[in-house]
Subunit: 161 residues, 2 copies
Amino acid sequence: MSFTPHTLDPNLDIELDREVDVAPELVWKAWTTPDLLKQWFAPKPFETPHCEIDLRPGGVFRTVMRSPEGTEFDGAGCYLEVVPNERLVWTSALAPGYRPQSGEMVFTAIIELRPNGSGGTRYRAVAMHQTPEDNKKHTDMGFVEGWGAALDQLVALVKAL
Amino acid sequence: MSFTPHTLDPNLDIELDREVDVAPELVWKAWTTPDLLKQWFAPKPFETPHCEIDLRPGGVFRTVMRSPEGTEFDGAGCYLEVVPNERLVWTSALAPGYRPQSGEMVFTAIIELRPNGSGGTRYRAVAMHQTPEDNKKHTDMGFVEGWGAALDQLVALVKAL
């Protein structure tokens, strides 16, 4: 098992690459179970009041995030690859059922997991963009910090299961 | 085995649904072998001088079509589903490797094949669009007639193999 072979483009892609001390199976469960995902997905003080998951290529991945001020961010994309405990790919460029859709800062996300040899997980998250502008906007929004903080929340959650 | 369960939207989707008297395996071969595809894909007098196929989800599907006047139309999308002899899905909304891309009249295509019970194939091709405008443009370009004429070329080609 190996990570995505294609080389990332630093002008178009953002990457978070970390090790966490929980097993891949638990990370996978947290990413693919709506009632769990709602508890960790948004970095606090944001919340995720709603999540829909149809875990198959073409199936919906929808999250509604809510800011402390009550603004909601509702986004639905679709899964492209589902390899349990190893690899999850989805995109906001396609609506559920693969219908093309446009939007602000469209991206494709790849989550890759593998055992780190000591019971934990090597965790890699990649966001691929169409343009350097989208990539910069996502970076400036704090992708790495935000997904990192959310990952810390995920780890704390699954340890308490 | 059944066809796509989701209902098509007549404002957004175009469909070609026909029976042809060659087996699904031959139709599949013609759709997935570059040297064959180049011989039937463009309705004459258009030609397809170039084709690239990496037959896996995320892999490239690129065709270059050429008009009788010599204008070339070069498009590369990526495959989403590859089920041999049954179902082929690709989109122009994603570049190879799933990177989002935009363009004129972006669409997702679904080709579905099944045995028709008498040695031939029930053949269904669907093009899904984001907007009614894209759908109308594709319709007015002659999607049904063009894909139908190309299918006739495909059938004649594989019968001669």
